[in-house]
């Protein structure tokens, strides 16, 4: 019993950490540019497929190489998607709904392209580190530890970026006051594209990390989009701290509900908690209106 509870808590922590990485990415785009990205889940799958492709090439059998190659690809991809698809819509009055539509179309396009290119069968990635700690009946695989450390590291790196680099500071400035930021000479358009690109990298990295545990499938991103979205709304849209707390709460909730009632109930429980939270605090745990 105790061992089981320990297992559940650990799986909640690990899933929570990866969800945090991905939810922070989603909340970042929303916080900075008020755009909602429906193709976020497809970018998650894209991370997994890029890693799968790189592992197919003989020389790259190393995760470090994969991360170093996948990150720039995702960064450039995200940047151009924003410049080509989202930026032209910004001038319109009803651009919010148009952005939702265009990213939904993009998601459909990407998901089905994966299916045509890679086939509908699920792809697996090699484990990042083999082996496990074993203390009696209690087993903690190194893989889980590495996933946890890397996602938390990613979030910390991102925090450092926001607080200590020029681009990061301009991202924060635009999030706080777009007009004011423009007056002091911050290139708003570039910041929008940059945040989109960074969030693409974050979710793609999350995709590579989780793909070792849960496989890569063409439509697998939807589940992730829904979870990242729930976490973002739960923690407060645009609030990175709220997103962090919410991610771990959701990870734990999911693990415990899945353990006690079965996986079918996790989504229902998730939405029940979300709706109750939103009924009491419409802005989420730590969000602000605006």
């Amino acid at each position: 019993m105790l061992i089981e509870i320990m297992d559940v808590i650990i799986s909640g922590l690990i899933n929570g950490s990866v969800y945090a990485l991905m939810a922070v990415g989603l909340t970042l785009i929303y916080g900075v540019s008020k755009a909602f990205n429906f193709a976020y889940g497809s970018f998650y799958s894209m991370g997994g497929y890029i890693a799968f492709l790189l592992f197919g090439v003989a020389y790259f059998k190393n995760y470090l190489v994969v991360f170093c190659l996948a990150a720039p690809v995702l960064l450039v991809f995200g940047f151009f998607i924003e410049k080509l698809l989202v930026a032209p819509l910004r001038k319109r009055d009803d651009w919010e709904i148009k952005v939702m539509m265009i990213t939904l179309g993009l998601a459909l396009f990407l998901d089905n392209s994966y299916q045509v290119v890679f086939g509908a069968r699920m792809k697996s990635l090699p484990s990042i580190l083999e082996g496990a700690f074993e203390v009696g009946d209690f087993i903690l695989s190194y893989q889980d530890v590495v996933i946890f450390v890397l996602s938390i590291g990613g979030i910390l790196l991102f925090r450092w970026f926001l607080n200590n680099t020029r681009t990061g500071m301009s991202v924060r400035a635009v999030a706080q006051n777009p007009a004011g930021a423009q007056i002091v000479g911050i290139p708003k358009e570039f910041v929008f594209a940059a945040t989109f690109a960074i969030s693409t990298v974050m979710v793609g990295m999350g995709g590579i990390l989780l793909a070792q545990k849960y496989f890569v499938t063409p439509g697998g991103g939807w589940n992730i989009l829904i979870k990242a979205w729930v976490i973002t709304a739960f923690g407060g849209m645009g609030s990175i701290k709220g997103g962090l707390y919410a991610a771990f709460i959701v990870g734990m909730l999911e693990a415990f509900v899945g353990w006690q009632f079965g996986m079918n109930w996790t989504l229902i429980a998730l939405f029940a908690v979300l709706l109750t939270t939103l009924a009491i605090r419409p802005q989420g745990l730590m969000g602000k209106w605006g």
Binding site: Y30, F36, L85, P88, L89, R92, D94, E96, I97, K98, M100, M101, I102, L104, G105, L106, A107, L108, F109, L110, D111, N112, S113, Q115, V116, G219, W222, I226, W229, V230, A233, M237, N264, W265, L267, I268, F271, L274, L275, L278, A279, P282, W289
Partner: protein, 324 residues
């Protein structure tokens, strides 16, 4: 667009649609597609009413459609109520659920509403497949395989003879579009627009956001539920596959092509989209890719849809004339 012009456009569209069976009446396949066009045109118009006019990002329209379809099928099977009444009961049930969904949305804004309504869509599948659903009679993951066909006063509509059902659906679609037009034209429509454009100002002037937002939820989910019931009795079987992303995106393409907030646009969009969808079916697995690419390109090139494009051309001409 002016209401008179919408009414004229509607009359033209529906009278063109009404004569289509003269050409295609003998081909069951095409008649089936036309019936589907009518059904989706109503669903898309309702979505347009709530999203385009009232400015509420409701993503639960497919869920209300499925709720209506299941409700009508279960009511006829369990209580022996004739389908023509069951369809309206299904609409009432969908409207009830719509109001329940609308209540938490009253306090929320933008993307939050999209999430809550989409949550209804996502939850529906596990609920229908799980223990609760099986207890009501949804048949779990197998779905409902036999649904009584629609009959009115002893006349039974069968799917092997689609022309009578086509006219029934046309009748329903005309009434639904009439209702939507009446709503847009009335005090309600103005209130929706006011709440969309400036909620605080509108409520200061005494426009009750509570009342009108719940009203639009109730009305659109009622109409969608009714049309869902008609769909169930026409197709004769239901499963949760409808809740997949395919149908959702098809509806979205309809709105993109027709134009968001350009009312009869959704109806034109439905006919064009379903026709394109059928024409693309030889492409097999490339069909959804093309559909996705189409959404992206259309949103960029035709942001106001076909109706918006014609409006622009028409208005430009008018300006030139007045200059002369």
């Amino acid at each position: 667009m002016e209401h008179k012009r919408i009414a004229k456009l509607l009359a033209v569209i529906w009278s063109i649609v009404a004569v289509l069976p003269l050409f295609f009446g003998s081909t069951n396949f095409i008649m089936h597609i036309l019936i589907m066009c009518l059904i989706w045109s109503v669903v898309a118009s309702c979505w347009d009413l709530i999203m385009g006019f009232a400015g509420i990002f409701s993503f639960g329209q497919v869920a209300f459609f499925v709720i209506g379809a299941y409700a009508s099928a279960i009511i006829t099977a369990k209580f022996g109520i004739p389908p023509i009444f069951a369809v309206f009961l299904a609409g009432v049930i969908a409207a009830g659920i719509g109001i329940l969904v609308g209540l938490p949305c009253l306090k929320l804004k933008g993307a939050y509403i999209a999430l809550v309504t989409f949550a209804v869509h996502m939850i529906l599948e596990p609920v229908l497949k799980g223990g609760i659903g099986r207890a009501i009679g949804t048949g779990g993951s197998r779905g409902i395989l036999t649904i009584q066909p629609m009959n009115i006063f002893g006349y039974t509509f069968t799917s092997s003879e689609p022309v009578p059902y086509f006219y029934l659906m046309l009748f329903v679609a005309v009434i639904c579009s009439g209702i939507i037009l009446a709503v847009i034209k009335s005090h309600w429509g103005t209130a929706f627009l006011a709440l969309k454009d400036a909620e605080e100002f509108a409520s200061c002037l005494g426009v009750s956001a509570f009342k009108y937002k719940l009203m639009v939820f109730a009305l659109t989910s009622f109409l969608t539920g009714v049309i869902g019931g008609f769909y169930a009795h026409y197709v004769g079987m239901l499963s949760t596959r409808m809740l997949g992303i395919d149908l959702f995106v098809t509806l979205m393409v309809i709105l993109v092509i027709g134009g968001v907030g350009k009312f009869p646009g959704a109806i034109i969009g439905a006919f064009i989209t379903i026709a394109i969808n059928e024409m693309l079916s030889p492409l097999g697995s490339f069909r959804p890719i093309t559909l996705g690419a189409m959404v992206v390109i259309l949103v960029l090139l035709l942001p106001d849809g076909i109706v918006g494009m014609f409006e622009k051309i028409f208005l430009k001409k008018k300006k030139v004339r007045s200059l002369n």
